[in-house]
């Protein structure tokens, strides 16, 4: 149900006291920062359509509608990146997990923090322009940190989705609330952490809640009014599917199909509480007028006994018509998932070679399994999958009462971290986690919006964890290069026309690598986990790279509150 309301009661911290709602938030952070106008021109749809060519702005969470995270400026390049230095540091005073993708419009940067704060910052100096502190409702339900991954700007509005499951449009110049819409009931397990994708006057938004027995969705709201335009339930009323016994790579998943069929006859289709969250941005194919996104895990995560069938469209790539929300195609990676190895990292639209070597429009997704999957954009069919980027062992061992060891661990592989691509090299760059875990099943009935795991996945304390950055040729599926990191990696990556990729680590290191061979060319230690996707932009004739350093809740990396921008002399 969507309750729709327009709330013009602006809550912008125009320099007055802000009541802290959480210990990680500072009371009255803006005492000495009076609000100033963010002087931007309205962002047009044409500008958004051409975001992949802009060497000044950074307009979408993953760079552009195709979500390539390939930034076309090359002032910062392999030859001079060794001279990169800090331009400014902005401290938000919200010291919690920081996953924002900075958005830059006309020299104004918009970043968000945990607990759904938004800051407008002068992108040249790092000075605060305004701060929106969302008045959070008392009930929030989320599993993996009070994260927020950013905003998008269209026209004169900034769009934000909040932890208490509201969609908010702000005045981009002042931060005042223009309208607010309730998306879903947080008491039932719904929350928002993703940045909206705004296209053709529609605000596209999914939902978290796969650990709470929600029924997932992707929706389009009217960008001007906040009214619902269409809704797509990620779980259809017939969620049974084809009783697939093998995953996308052809491995047997050890399903007991007869037992599932018996259970289906007994309890019926479990679609109402089957999960299927969408909490990463859809890619938009402007030419075909279609969107592509991935759907997360079924509820409960580890207990398949309560949800017979393939659990469509969990763990799937899904494509919809942008205007109507009608489904165009889908591809399920893991049917009846009982490991939470779902599909999370946002898909990317690039041209790829099909099996015959012909170049066609493709869509690629990096899985928690550690594979990069390459699809035909037309029908979602799988063309190939890459070599595994992380160790895989005992796949697909079923969870047991005692706990069964299997690799990858439930965070991946590639978690939510967006990948980057360099179409000129046909390379996809992904950051990975290696966390040996045991999978344990313990059945319990639906708990009315409470955490519903159906067991537990636990890291094995005696086994070493690590991470890596991996470049994969998506036309061959072969790994081109890989850089090992001492800790699991989560946050995202950026590629640039300067022949570089930028990525951060949980220990605070932020580094630039040669995008062709993985050689490290520069690094900086930020003092807190760099677990956010970097962005780049140009202002005053100088290119910058910017990233959040605030650590991560899910993997428990050192918290901080900094947005750090780098440039050359």
């Amino acid at each position: 149900m969507n309750r729709y309301s327009i709330a013009c009661a602006a809550f912008v911290s125009l320099g007055f006291t802000l009541a802290a709602s959480n210990a990680q938030e500072i009371a009255n952070p803006d005492q000495w920062s009076p609000a100033r106008e963010a002087k931007i021109s309205p962002v047009t749809q044409d500008e958004l359509n051409a975001a992949d060519k802009s060497t000044t702005n950074f307009l979408l969470t993953n760079g552009n509608y195709a979500q390539t995270r390939f930034y076309p400026a090359k002032q910062i390049n392999r030859d001079n990146v060794k001279n990169l230095h800090v331009a400014w540091i902005f401290q938000t005073q919200v010291k919690e997990s920081l996953e924002t993708s900075p958005i830059v419009v006309d020299g104004v940067m918009y970043v968000t923090t945990s607990f759904s704060h938004v800051y407008a910052i002068d992108a040249k100096t790092g000075q605060q322009l305004w701060h929106y502190a969302h008045k959070m409702g008392p009930v929030t339900t989320y599993c993996c940190g009070p994260n927020n991954r950013g905003v998008q700007v269209l026209g004169d509005k900034v769009y934000l989705a909040t932890l208490d499951s509201k969609l908010v449009a702000l005045n981009a110049k002042t931060g005042e609330v223009v309208w607010t819409t309730d998306i879903a009931d947080p008491e039932q397990g719904y929350s928002e952490t993703m940045a909206p994708t705004v296209v053709k006057d529609k605000v596209l938004i999914g939902t978290n809640g796969g650990e709470y027995g929600i029924r997932g969705f992707l929706r389009a709201y009217d960008a001007k009014t906040g009214k619902l335009v269409w809704n797509f339930d990620t779980i259809p009323e017939n969620s049974v599917g084809v009783w697939a016994t093998k995953d996308a790579t052809g491995r047997d998943m050890h399903r007991d199909i007869q037992a599932e069929k018996d259970q289906l006859a007994k309890i019926g289709d479990p679609y109402k509480r089957l999960g299927g969250g969408v909490w990463q941005n859809p890619a938009v194919d402007l030419a075909a007028n279609r969107i592509y996104f991935v759907v997360g895990n079924p509820s409960p995560d580890l207990d398949g006994s309560l949800r017979p069938g393939d659990n469509l469209y969990t763990d799937s790539l899904v494509s919809l018509d942008l205007d109507t929300g009608k489904m165009a195609c889908h591809f399920q990676y893991i049917a009846h998932d009982v490991w939470d190895l779902d599909a999370v990292s946002p898909p990317v639209l690039v041209n790829v070679q099909d099996k015959s070597g012909k170049t066609i429009p493709g869509v690629i997704h990096a899985g928690k399994t550690g594979h990069i999957y390459v699809h035909n954009r037309k029908d979602c069919s799988l063309i190939r999958f890459s070599e595994a980027m992380v160790p895989q062992e005992n796949m697909w061992t079923l969870p047991t009462k005692e706990g069964a060891r299997m690799l990858p661990g439930a965070n991946g592989g590639v978690e939510w971290s967006p990948i980057a691509t360099d179409p000129g090299q046909a390379l996809a760059y992904a950051i990975n986690l290696h966390q040996p875990m045991t999978y344990r099943v313990d059945s319990s009935p639906y708990p009315n919006g409470k955490l519903w795991l159906g067991g537990a996945f636990t890291a094995i304390p005696t086994e070493k964890q690590s991470g890596n950055i991996t470049a994969v040729n998506y036309n061959s599926g072969k790994i081109k290069w890989q850089v090992k990191t001492p800790e699991p990696m989560i946050g995202g990556i950026l590629a640039t026309a300067g022949g570089l990729v930028f990525a951060g680590e949980g220990n605070g290191k932020f580094a630039a690598y040669n995008s062709s061979n993985g050689k490290e060319l520069w690094n900086f230690h930020a003092g807190a986990g760099v677990n956010a996707p970097p962005s780049s932009y140009t202002v005053g004739g100088k290119q910058y790279v910017v990233v959040g350093a605030g650590g991560n809740t899910q993997v428990n990396f050192r918290r901080g509150d900094s947005i750090v921008a780098f440039t050359l002399d």
Partner: protein, 220 residues
């Protein structure tokens, strides 16, 4: 990927459920008997917070009898609710009313509460300062054991880095050790049945580690 919740309840006409609970408590745990005999609940009833809106003020009077007039519970097995997360308090009150969480004292008290009452009571206690029970910091070996369990299960994914909680997830830092230990035990046996996710996580953790965790959290 992990999480948990808890809660309390709210009040309608508080006096009636309170009296009911007082008279009905004779058969309950010894601690409660002692408490009643000392007249603590009655004392709490007579000293309500005057600044509060009348309705809520009336309803929260009863709470001090067990949870403490100064926020320090009168028994170690009773949780601190002063300064607790409002969303958590609300959900617990709701669950007592629904019967999803069982407690012979709390369930009659919340029986007549409506949602708005529960939200108001939750907010009232959330605004109170968290009391310091003066529990000792855990020894180094205990802390290491606790943190090892935390890393394995990922407690901070929901309770956050400083175990302060947020929204419907409770603060654990500085909570009564006995209450924490009892709650963990109750999750494991499903005696505390209103959060199966927590049951899963507690069952996946060795009991010795959980004991260390309770001691560690209490000392924060």
């Amino acid at each position: 990927m992990h999480e948990c919740h808890v809660t309390i309840a709210k009040a309608g006409p508080v006096a009636a459920p309170l009296l009911f609970s007082l008279t009905g408590m004779k058969s309950m745990v010894g601690n409660w008997m002692g408490m009643i005999s000392r007249g603590i609940i009655l004392g709490a009833l007579l000293s309500a917070a005057p600044a509060l809106a009348q309705g809520v003020a009336e309803k929260v009077k009863v709470c001090a009898g067990c949870h403490g007039q100064d926020g320090k519970p009168i028994d170690k097995a009773i949780p601190i609710i002063w300064g607790q997360q409002a969303g958590y308090i609300y959900i617990q009150l709701r669950d007592f009313k629904r019967g999803d969480r069982k407690n012979e004292i709390m369930q009659p008290i919340v029986a007549s509460f409506e949602k708005n009452d529960m939200l108001a009571i939750a907010e009232y206690f959330a605004q109170k300062p968290w009391p310091n029970l003066g529990q000792p910091r855990s020894a180094k070996d205990v802390a290491q054991r606790a943190l090892s369990a935390e890393h394995s299960v990922g407690c901070t994914g929901c309770h956050l880095e400083q175990f302060q909680g947020d929204g419907t997830v409770p603060r654990l830092a500085g909570q009564s050790r006995d209450y924490l230990a009892k709650t963990i035990a109750d999750f494991r046996t499903r005696a505390r049945g209103n959060n199966p996710g927590m049951t899963d996580l507690m069952r996946a953790t060795p009991p010795d580690d959980l004991a260390a965790l309770a001691e560690y959290l209490a000392g924060l």
